[in-house]
Subunit: 220 residues, 2 copies
């Protein structure tokens, strides 16, 4: 790493899942502002409402510092999932933003159904990736050019890190911190947050839930 | 529970810890808007900046729906910790708000150093409570009328739930959901969020870190 803080672009959209977003940001925040800058970005700057449950009701609002139009190129992207993913899959502004930013970024990460957006944008073509277990099909049906890995807590492939659902984003983020800033930094983040780090990317405690909700929703 | 959604008042202040706040809110959000309303509240309504690390730098901003002056009485309070706690311990508006709201609320919960604020406000007098492990003294030095429990993932005592640091708030919140809405609702929240629930309130994986950072900071 250079002497400048890593510029993280953390993407927001209406109906994003709170823990998909703030689990990773918490872990990255422990690095401190000398190592990382957390930039929030959405289609339009200003307040963006999170999801409450899977029903599309409105939760707490988070302020986007940047709109897609005035966002700089980021060193790393973080794309959360959430019930709002379904709307964003049809939003050209979102897909274009992810495509353009991913080309410039050194690292691209997603949590939960965030990988559905990256896949639809074509960003994951030719790469291994995973997604939320209960609605895995929402991601896997976006592209057959992605090598979808069903059983994984998270998947690292080149510049891409994709995690399973919600809480898995914290485990993935600690792995990213270990890769970029060393094992001690990751251990410090886990200890500071009193988080029992699930360290094995290939061990998936929720594989038995694969597509359970997707079937209930009639997606399969 | 009645037929009205439980009104949760989730307290914000500058320098709150992101996961202290959004870990619990994620778990509660899975209940859906028919069972719970998540209200964000701070001294003044509008954007409130979170902490990045322990150094007081500014992280993502969350919008407070209510100011202390126009907030209704809530059924349940959630008080997060974070580096901003130290400032709030000297803020009469915060301490008065907690005192008045806690008298009316059916349930009062805190994460991490949030219990320091409740203790300073006198709300925890005569009750058992816990706090963040690494800076436990920040809470325990606020009041000798609280029965401080060092080794606990979280502590339930009457209307009060207090948790250990950061991630422990998620385990506590699942216990609250189990108590208020039943075991199945808690299991659903854990499964939906792919979270491996730490179910034993008395088992504390981070007790060896007790006051390690408090000693470094010269508090002990």
């Amino acid at each position: 790493m250079g002497n400048q803080p890593l510029q993280l672009g953390a993407v927001l959209y209406p109906g994003f899942e709170m823990l998909d977003y703030f689990g990773p940001l918490e872990m990255f925040s422990v690095l401190g502002s000398s190592l990382i800058t957390i930039n929030t970005v959405a289609e339009h700057s200003g307040p963006v409402a999170s999801a409450i449950g899977s029903e599309g009701a409105v939760g707490p609002k988070v302020v986007a510092d940047y709109g897609f139009d005035d966002a700089p190129a980021f060193d790393m992207l973080l794309v959360p999932g959430g019930s709002g993913t379904l709307t964003e899959l049809e939003n050209p502004a979102m897909l274009d933003f992810l495509r353009v930013q991913a080309e410039k970024a050194q690292w691209v990460s997603s949590v939960c159904t965030g990988s559905a957006l990256l896949a639809k944008a074509g960003v994951l073509d030719g790469h291994r990736a995973t997604s939320n277990k209960q609605v895995f099909a929402i991601a896997s049906m976006q592209s057959d050019r992605v090598d979808w890995v069903e059983s994984a807590r998270w998947v690292e492939d080149g510049q891409f890190f994709t995690s399973s659902g919600v809480s898995a984003g914290m485990d993935m983020s600690l792995a990213i911190i270990q890769k970029l800033f060393g094992k001690e930094a990751a251990e410090t983040a886990a200890s500071y947050t009193e988080y029992t780090w699930h360290r094995d990317a290939n061990s998936d405690p929720f594989i038995d839930e694969l597509n359970v909700m997707a079937k209930e929703l009639g997606l399969l």
